[in-house]
Assembly symmetry: C2
Homo-oligomer: 341 residues x 2
DNA sequence: AAATATAATGTTACCGATAACCTTAAATTA
DNA sequence: TAATTTAAGGTTATCGGTAACATTATATTT
């Protein structure tokens, strides 16, 4: 590896002069600058980021931790974060925790070890608390995305999950549905809890009874094993006429399972969910969804993060919380039921 | 930031002893080890990865550079790479170049600067050559994914693009199609070139004339502006009865454009493409595709990369090339045409 | 002409860790 | 008992940069 000392020797100057040329600091004669530049090109010099960060005590690196890299919600969010980071001159790297608290911990270690200047975290869930505490303890600025973690105050960008769930249920009841089931993520994830709450509230407001057997709490990330959904469907008697899915992944798995049983959507079962399916929903605009503004989650979150970093912990501004609206897109996955009674 | 010197002072030992405890090297008494460990926990010590890498001359970090983080092909590939990296005890970070050679250069700089131990690269295209040369010059082991770059030999994982294109065209002709158009990625991308070649060859074998106006060479990544596709459709006279799309993104854009014109797929236009739409194709198995084994691209590529790294450039084994088969999944996006003449 | 300022560069110490070598006391062997 | 191992730990130099201070020659001011 070529170092500034190699450059210095070949150019007949001191290492410090090379450093000055690289960083455009101090006073350097044009002759020397040109000479050093030439030698740098000749030897293909690349600065050693680690040595630099070590002495400067900052890395200029930012991280984005997402929980499911195959989910269009998070990849769109990533694009937003990327654009905002670039705008502010930061480098952004991604990590994928796979909704797995262990992997998340590994990434937090990597983040601390590489002395990242800040992190955007979509936490795996409530059990992420210790990781966030670690970040806080080490004074790494972070902004949470999509999910709150009880016990941890911070800047955060959220979607209006409760309102979203209410809208979905209201839409279903407006189409005549009265037996409405919910398949949701883990109760250790704040957004899942709020969606359940919104669901319950909307049922009550529509004079519908809450039936525990109509609710399945499982995982937000894709599973190859659909048996949990299968047995849930077996358990419900009578079957609901409509299902609310806590996110896009669950919606897809429900559809797969239903298709396996020859149940068609929406003819025999209506379905709505949170989060769109990415650009691919355009092929066949089918699912009625709460289309969260994924790109904004990333973009606004990154903006808050950069502000925090640049403020350098001096002022201790209060934590900011952005709640993005839950907009419903009505498409074709809900059947209108004949009014009964 | 807590350092080993803080630990050492508080534990009443030397920094070297702390280092030994951390790395489980040398001989340390149980008493001392326990004492050091306790202090480390008390002070929430996290090793400084940069200082460590600086002296060890290796970072234990691997990178994966993809060109479109919103494309399920690449995210699935990323999952494969991740799993393989984890299996070998490496940390993996992601970068997204957005099919943009400039951004790709930034990432290459980051990679060099952080002294990554190796990189998995899906290159943006032929103009990526200088970046790869930079990596080579700095002796960073890398494995190419999905695309060849003329002028650069290396380990590589490819799909059988030519064969894939032939299969798609053959399938279309077998259904009676004789006017078959192609929308493809940039000719500066090897896979796009091979797909065009396969398309031409298959036309010839089927006794169909090659008509230049039936081919549109554009970009593989999503564009908000569909006017290029619009004017291509305007230009073709008569319209083709079927379109081959060079990847999933293009297929989606074609569908959007066609829908905008009230042209239905497959009733009025048949459509096939490379790469599946991720889990979401399961909702409505619609598009007939060449389903490349995205996960294997990442998994096998990572395996080759790790082998290269561990071999440490000593033996200079010949470059390895893995060509994954092009398997077609026939679904419903192709209409059977009545036989004419 | 002497005093002072300034441009251009060099020297030294340090960031946080580890390798390589060194020291010391206790344990083992001859 | 003297000689030799061994266990347990310390010292020093180094990785590749940069901040802070020092130096030198030239230019400017009085």
């Amino acid at each position: 590896m070529v170092t500034i000392y190699d450059i210095a020797a070949k150019a007949g100057v001191s290492a410090m002069t090379v450093s000055r040329v690289i960083n455009n600091t101090g006073k350097i004669s044009d002759t020397t600058r040109a000479k050093v530049r030439r030698v740098m090109e000749e030897l293909n010099y690349v600065p050693n980021h680690m040595a630099r960060s070590l002495v400067l005590q900052q890395s200029n690196l930012l991280f984005l931790l997402i929980t499911d890299i195959t989910n269009p919600f998070y990849t769109t969010l990533a694009r937003g974060a990327e654009d905002a980071a670039k705008k502010h001159g930061y480098r952004l790297l991604f990590g994928n925790s796979d909704e797995n608290v262990e992997k998340e911990k590994d990434y937090v270690d990597t983040i601390l070890a590489t002395r990242a200047d800040g992190v955007l975290v979509a936490p795996a869930g409530d059990p992420s608390l210790p990781h966030l505490e670690t970040l806080r303890k080490h004074q790494v600025p972070f902004v949470l995305l999509d999910r709150e973690v009880p016990g941890m105050d911070s800047d955060i960008v959220l979607g209006d999950s409760k309102e979203g769930a209410r809208k979905l249920v209201d839409h279903l009841t407006s189409q005549g549905h009265r037996r409405i089931a919910l398949i949701n993520g883990s109760p250790y994830i704040s957004s899942a809890r709020l969606r359940l709450e919104g669901y319950k509230e909307a049922l009550k407001l529509n004079d519908l009874a809450y039936d525990e057997s109509y609710v399945l709490e499982t995982a937000f990330e894709p599973r190859s094993d659909l048996s949990e959904i299968e047995s849930w469907l077996d358990r419900m008697d009578p079957l609901p006429t409509a299902i609310v899915a806590g996110n896009n992944v669950l919606a897809v798995e429900v559809i797969r399972t239903l298709h396996g049983r020859g149940i068609r959507v929406p003819e025999q079962m209506s379905l709505v969910c949170f989060d769109d399916l990415g650009p691919y929903s355009e092929i066949d605009p089918f699912l009625t969804v709460i289309a969260q503004q994924a790109y904004q989650f990333g973009y606004l979150g990154m903006q808050m993060l950069v502000e925090r970093i640049q403020e350098r912990g001096e002022s201790g501004l209060p934590w900011k919380k952005i709640v993005l609206p839950a907009d419903m897109i009505v498409r074709r996955s809900v059947a209108a039921l004949p009014l009964r009674k």
